[in-house]
Amino acid sequence: LPITPSKEDEVLAETYLKRFYNLTEETGPTSRQGPSQRSRKVQEMQKFFGLKLTGTLDSETLAMMKKPRCGVPDVQIGH
């Protein structure tokens, strides 16, 4: 369902994506083309968990982010 995430949910998502999907701080001018890095990371996460690829923090995505889990990143990042 489309929802407006609370401030807490935004913080949770930010922490989650940084930790498990290598979301980095975006600096410099904002690109006018294509989705944001955060949206791409949300999609990456949604794809991994077999969720609908919306690129936004819908209720299913937030519910998955709130589940207890292993601390190893889902996407392996280089050393």
Binding site: R19, F20, F48, F49, G50, M64, K66, K67, P68, R69, C70, G71, V72, D74, Q76
Partner: protein
């Protein structure tokens, strides 16, 4: 299943050491949970595990909380339950359990240590997260009865892809 770029142990004879214990369970319960969790993988692969009580083991097991010196701090109750490192020297293979969680032996309250440990040891042996929701290596915790647990096919395929099947079966 997926792997850490095929990182694996060069030997099938691995050692493990339990460095400390959680207050949530008795020593015997922790020992049994850890031993069983390793046997889950030994049953379907050529890997064999020997416990040591001093010195550095391939798989060092500890209960810890918050910032514990590996640049991957735990986050208090809930969310992250544990983590483990892919095969390798030093911290490689080690498994850390967040002692801000409530671990259990056989009840459905808290997080079953056997299930969490079996997942983490999958990482210690070279498996990354699976996107199969039924797999042990799926990243989120879900309770299943430890008494009747059998390693799901995706995980068997993963460990046998890395190390081959159990030659004794």
């Amino acid at each position: 299943f997926s792997t850490f770029n095929n990182r694996k142990w060069k030997t099938n004879q691995l050692t493990y050491r339990i460095e400390n214990y959680t207050p949530d369970m008795s020593v015997a319960e922790v020992d049994q949970s850890i031993t069983r969790a390793l046997q889950v993988w030994a049953k379907v692969s050529p890997l064999r595990f020997t416990r040591i009580y001093r010195g550095t083991a391939d798989i060092m097991i500890s209960f810890t909380r918050g910032d514990h010196g590996d640049f991957n701090p735990f986050d208090g109750p809930g969310s992250t339950l544990a983590h483990a490192f892919a095969p390798g020297p030093y911290i490689g293979g080690d498994a850390h359990f967040d002692d801000d969680e409530n671990f259990s032996f056989s009840s459905t309250r808290g997080y079953n240590l056997f299930l969490v440990a079996a997942h983490e040891f999958g990482h210690s042996l070279g498996l990354s997260h699976s996107n199969d929701p039924g797999a042990l290596m799926f990243p989120t915790y879900s309770y299943r009865d430890p008494r009747t647990f059998s390693l799901p096919r995706d995980d068997v395929n993963g460990i046998q892809y890395i190390y081959g099947p159990n030659p004794d079966v």
